[in-house]
Symmetry: C2
Subunit: 865 residues, 2 copies
């Protein structure tokens, strides 16, 4: 029986490790399944989405943060959220909008002088080369206050915000053209392009829609507003857009609703907008040649300047054969160009069909000037049937499409049916449907709208969660559901609640395409990428006064802020330039002064500026807001704001006990002795690291650099301590010796991590049995008393197999039946020494064998423990 189990479990678990596994693991799994009510398929889905500690994800998703105004970054398939990036809303953790440099970016987004402190982010877009993601820049729109933001994927920070000068809302952007030449931003609710009042009764005459083509410099990652232009559209409510590629390169597509131009509402005795805006069976897909229009826009004759921005009027576009309309199913959402560029799929949420347009047919109609009519604004209309490859009934509420690497395959979201449908847009056949929970809006494939879709997964962005999660009040989280599409049919794997904002759309990219850095060149202003004018190195810290202007050049490093005291006069304008001197990855320092509503987040090498007027008198602690080291609480100082018009009376001095010279000398000696002992430990670690060629292992070498960074600060402190002692100031000498100890603690903190990492890198490879033995050793509780390489509550087991004649047998007997050996003189001695008897842990023979293998492995690597 046992044999066939082993064979089966090796087949089942499929790893070399379990060639002759005991039944422990399978029993354990069985127990967990029973306790947690999991089925077989649940366990498979768990395995498909679980990342063991330290294992990274295959894809990175950038999701809009909806009304949070931010961008959400998460990993697939683990569905763990990695970061919220501050974009349109101030974000104190990142210092975004709380330091001067990021505030300058945020305030680029002012509209007509008004500060806007939030956004409704909708459509993230990744920059492209040849229609494929290059992993460099992310653009996203704000629907509520029409703007586009640019995020740098080298540091995941927002670098630019550009308000739209003519729109009053937007929706159909951001979308990059295939070589990131432009970013498309389409308006949503038609409104006058100028900033004047126009009565709703003159809607058709004075309200307009449009598409802004934002010129983008993909090298520096910035929109160039002066080289950008807007194409005027009729006052239909434009919705989503996409850029053509391949055969449709140079063309843009934007769909629309409310081609009825209905304007409600109940208060004038008419039905609300929702009724009038969906009266017609079809709306209009806008087809425009942006390449041609960009050239036209260069000539001032072809543009109107509105709010200092170039607008190409409809009639100019029409006259130059650059703007057309095609009927499309009622109230469409997505217009999605396929990877080749030949096909466009449009789904109308109030129509059960998907409509597949063939750009070759569209182009032929355009070239032949074969029009079915004109709209009220004179734009030529192409015949819908003649433009179509075909239509297919998918279900209720089809919205958006994502492509698969398999030719012709596409995934479409069904809002009302709450399903994802997989179908073939060439053969026009449904392949599979999968239920989601509930009311899916967008869906995100892996690079599923690029020229190089990866397949693997679809994420359903559901609008309602209802009963999916633990109730957290009337406002529910959203729900992104991960669907495995690698098999013949779709398989819904897991739910991910979204804890902040209603994410609208998401784009996914292979993690291997992203190469963010982990530190800045020392003194960098991360918002401009240039060296900050406030850059301050160690030793350059100072406070400068110029009348009522106080400028502080400060540094932060584990674990102090320099300076630690700042005194200013009430009314002074205070500017603090801060530089984080760290080089170690993840060693961020934060900085705030209580009550002054400012906060900076400084990543290694970053310089930033805080600015405020010291308008409130008093004493205000400042501190590092990151738990940056064991001494982080001590990383603080005081700002004191004095009223220059007030007279202060000195406080009566408290009498404190002072130490005698003898007591001081004793403390000094003790402190030095502790330092020497600590240094001996550090030196032993250093020797170990050197002996074992730490420099051959990059991750260890990085840790050693970080540790030495701390250690190398010691001689300077030692010099100060010795000088103070020489000058007879024992008190001061003690304090500097204490500083040495702090540096040693920080050295040891990182140094020990380096050593442990190195041990695992250079030890011999564990056999499968030894690996199981290590687990058994831990799970059997052996490590409660026995610490490898160290005498603990029980003896160190390094070398135990050598300590006894016929050692393996001896140890095995002792594990299996310790009681019988309590009278053995050696064992008796140990019992006396540790005042503890080795208990019977009821290990099986198999486990005991494995533990022996583990002990052998320890002996092989005895030098490392």
């Amino acid at each position: 029986m046992k044999k066939s189990q082993s064979k089966f479990s090796s087949m089942l678990l499929g790893t070399a490790l379990v060639a002759s596994v005991a039944s422990g693991a399978t029993n354990e799994l069985s127990k967990v399944m029973k306790e947690r009510g999991l089925s077989e398929i649940d366990v498979i889905r768990a395995a498909k989405t679980y990342n063991p500690t330290g294992v990274k994800d295959e894809y990175v998703v950038f999701s809009s943060g909806g009304q949070s105004g931010q961008v959400i970054v998460y990993g697939v398939p683990s569905m763990r959220i990695l970061k919220y990036i501050g974009v349109f809303t101030p974000e104190p953790w990142q210092g975004y909008g709380f330091d001067k440099d990021s505030l300058e970016v945020l305030r680029q987004g002012n509209i007509r002088g008004r500060e806007i402190n939030w956004g409704d982010t909708h459509h993230p877009a990744l920059s492209e080369i040849d229609g494929k993601y290059d992993g460099k820049w992310l653009a996203i729109n704000d629907k509520a206050n029409p703007r586009i933001a640019i995020i740098d994927l080298a540091d995941f920070e927002t670098k630019q915000i550009v308000p739209n000068p003519v729109f009053k809302s937007d929706h159909g952007g951001a979308f990059f053209t295939p070589n990131s030449e432009y970013i498309i931003e389409a308006s949503q609710y038609a409104a006058p392009f100028d900033n004047n009042y126009h009565p709703i009764e003159e809607y058709k005459e004075t309200y307009r829609g449009g598409v802004t083509m934002w010129k983008f410099d993909n090298k520096i990652g910035r929109i160039m507003p002066d080289d950008s232009f807007t194409i005027e559209f009729p006052p239909y409510h434009q919705d989503l857009s996409d850029a053509g590629k391949g055969i449709s390169y140079g063309w843009g597509f934007t769909n629309s609703f409310n081609t009825e131009m209905y304007t409600g509402g109940i208060e004038v005795g008419m039905p609300p907008n929702e009724a009038g805006m969906s009266r017609n069976d079809t709306d209009f897909l806008h087809v425009y040649n942006w390449e041609k229009l960009a050239k036209l826009a260069e000539n001032p004759k072809n543009v109107k300047i509105i709010n200092n921005h170039k607008v190409v009027p409809m009639d100019i576009a029409v006259k130059n054969n650059a703007l057309f309309l095609i009927p499309e199913p009622k109230s469409p959402h997505g217009v999605d160009v396929d990877p080749t560029g030949q096909y466009l799929i449009v789904c109308g949420k109030l129509d059960t069909h998907a409509s597949v347009y063939d750009f070759k047919k569209i182009k032929k109609l355009i070239d032949n000037k074969e029009y079915a009519g004109k709209d009220p604004y004179g734009i030529p209309i192409l015949d819908m049937k003649k433009s179509l490859h075909g239509q297919l009934e998918l279900g209720l509420g089809p919205l958006h499409n994502q492509y698969s690497p398999v030719d012709g395959e596409v995934y479409t979201s069904l809002y009302v049916d709450s399903q994802v449908v997989k179908w073939n847009f060439k053969d026009l056949k449904v392949i599979d449907k999968e239920n989601v929970h509930y009311n899916i809006g967008h869906l995100a494939g892996m690079e599923g709208k690029s020229a190089d879709p990866q397949g693997d997964y679809i994420i359903a962005l559901n609008k309602l969660a209802i009963d999916r999660f633990q109730n957290v009040g009337p406002l529910h989280p959203q729900n992104h559901q991960l669907i495995d599409i690698k098999g013949k049919t779709m398989d819904l794997l897991v739910d991910m609640p979204l804890p902040l904002g209603e994410p609208h759309q998401a784009v996914a990219i292979r993690a291997s395409k992203l190469h963010p850095h982990v530190r800045y060149k020392m003194g960098t202003n991360s918002k401009t990428g240039k060296i900050h004018k406030g850059k301050t190195l160690a030793g350059e810290e100072r406070i400068e006064r110029d009348g009522k202007n106080v400028t502080v050049y400060a540094t932060l490093v584990r674990s102090h802020i320099n300076p630690e005291r700042i005194t200013v006069n009430k009314g002074d304008k205070v500017t603090i330039h801060m530089t984080n001197l760290e080089r170690a990855q993840d060693e961020t320092h934060g900085f705030t002064i209580d009550n002054y509503d400012i906060h900076g987040s400084l990543e290694p090498g970053e310089t930033t500026t805080l600015e405020f007027t010291a308008d409130v008198e008093g004493v205000f602690p400042y501190y590092c807001t990151e738990f940056c080291s064991a001494l982080h609480l001590e990383m603080m100082g005081y700002m004191m704001v004095k009223d220059p018009d007030k007279k202060y009376v000195s406080a009566q001095k408290l009498k404190m006990k002072t130490m005698s010279p003898e007591e001081l000398k004793a403390e000094y000696d003790k402190t030095v002795a502790v330092n020497n002992a600590t240094d001996a430990v550090i030196q032993s670690v250093v020797k170990f690291l050197k002996d074992n060629k730490f420099q051959d292992h990059k991750v260890v070498a990085n840790l050693v650099t970080d540790a030495l960074d701390q250690y190398n600060k010691i001689p300077e402190q030692k010099k100060k301590a010795d000088e103070a002692l020489k000058a007879g100031d024992t008190e001061k000498a003690i304090l500097f010796e204490n500083m040495i100890w702090q540096l040693m603690v920080k050295t040891a903190d990182v140094g020990i991590r380096a050593k442990d990492t190195l041990v695992r890198k250079i030890s011999t490879k564990q056999s499968a049995a030894a690996a199981r033995g290590e687990v058994a050793f831990a799970e059997g509780g052996c490590n409660g008393c026995h610490v490898i390489g160290k005498v603990s509550s029980g003896p160190d087991l390094t070398g135990v197999l050598q300590r006894h004649e016929n050692g393996e047998q001896w140890v095995s007997n002792f594990i299996l039946d310790p009681e019988s050996m309590y009278d053995d003189p050696y064992v008796k001695g140990m019992i006396d020494y540790f005042n503890l008897k080795m208990p019977n842990q009821h290990m099986s023979e198999e486990e005991t064998k494995d533990i022996i293998e583990y002990l052998k492995w320890i002996e092989e690597n005895a030098n490392l423990f």
Copy 2:
């Protein structure tokens, strides 16, 4: 072989479902493990943390959001973040700080008149009865700007913010006393209690620490500032606190660092604070009798009034035997009272020991007035050794403790060693250690600091993530690691990145103890819990003018805002009261007016107010910011701001084509016909629901209520349509008929969901074989053509087993070898009809048998499809 496999897999997978499972699932698991490089133990850990869709968590964790200023809510063991609650930082998704009502809460947190728009949240606390969590209120402190916020766990919203009137920073709070009588808030960095300038040279004389005891009303969930008081402490930097319980009830404990009273720093030629503040080997634990002090504070003779707040001076506390000090290990972090109240564990981060104090011993020393000395401020010091139960060396950097339900067991975080250590504080023995990644600060057990700790899990709140996650720029996420403590030894299960803020501490509660509601009583102001003065029901919508004040009473319901047009004059003060008329769970509506930097989030039944001055001329769309229904894009309107001092010229009217009466009549007839057809579908669903007693199933009944809510609005619209038709306005009649259609779409959306839910509730239980058959049917791709209950690309299979003689055999043959039956006349007919041949999907005999069982189950329930 097959037999032993089956037996084994049933043991392994441990569910009734797999009594005779085929090898499909085990092969699949094996494949996934290979592809993803997972070991056996990984799969077990995956199973321990995976929640299938819709399955809820056992525990809910409330974590501070660090410098995000918010509170983070997540589930255990799935480690999915469910919500960020807006607390000290404006949060637009929730409308927090963007609507008038929440802004009133946020602005309670102003300090000395300054608006503070962020916080550094540190220590969340759950309200208690008898030292056990009652699931009613959550309190949290802001370290940067000393304040306490109260969150209502009935709706997860912040209801109150109370700034500390005397502290300039805080840390050691919030902590509830055992019956939520008080919330403890301890200061951190000593500073003058008054608001004046005091030079750092007079630190010892004029700077002070302390503990504020905030009186709490657990019934209404509000702090009562007038009944609260502060206990003055010496200018040591106080750190964490805890309240006694059981034998130590009535006492509070607060530890400290910098009892050296050192004040740095480099700029005055001295070592930085980090060196001077950790010079002494011990610091002081403050032990105070808050029960006695509360009574003392009632007498004005015993208090000083500072900034309108009662402060009990140190000498009064000492004179009344209510304040003592005990030496504690260097720079401690946690002071954690055990579930019985007898023991307190203090760990000093710069000492390798945990110190276990015995309150019985402390009390005896106090009662006997047995003092070891006095501190410079005259506070009696108790002897450390005489107060201790004992000490145990745990490792480097011990910080915080969480208790287990097993008597004497406790878990402690080791910052420098990056470990959690499990030990027994009575026997003083280490039991187990687990590595974490990296530098753990706090740790959170399940109710691990209450009188009723649950065990099960420990969460390690790590300060550095370094290499754990996909790189997302120099600012890394934090990492909370879940550790299973149910076994003999700890087992690290999974990593959770924290995407926003550096969470400092977390508290966990059984999910079953929380009972939040899902909707408000109609017209509720969620911030006060009372009916909002702006409550507006359907039909009461209006715009009122009073000089330059414009007040709008608006409603939101799927899918329109009423009114849809608002015209005001430039300079008008606009107040918009909005009520969400929905009753359906999760039907939140958002509201914004472009460019005006306002946003409201209205949960079902909620009323809130937006307020602004219309200081910018122009046309501004407003819209619902939640994807609330298929018509959500149409849920919009326009605010038009007119300059009263300007003359406007009317635009020249565009000539639009109009429809002939005949064309209008035809459209009207078509619209009515569509409505009738749609209604027929709805009626069939209604009949199905009624026939099958939907009201017996609460979840279905709720959906039906929601659907009828929409459907019942139809007669009113029908009346309007008929009136318009009678009056000869066919155009208007069409529009109202269209509104009827919208209501029908929304009815159907929810109604179909109700039907599907009901089917699963009332169908007969599937046999294991039928359940496998359903999976095989889907995974084999059968459902690509065959939709149960419907003719699709292939015939409906309901009743297929009855359609053929010897039906089971016939269907089985056809699945296994369809090609051989293409010439069968019946099959031929089908091929002609569907223009498709049934393909060979290569199903196994076992799968085919299961599919037959599935088809039998369908026939049993044929009436439901």
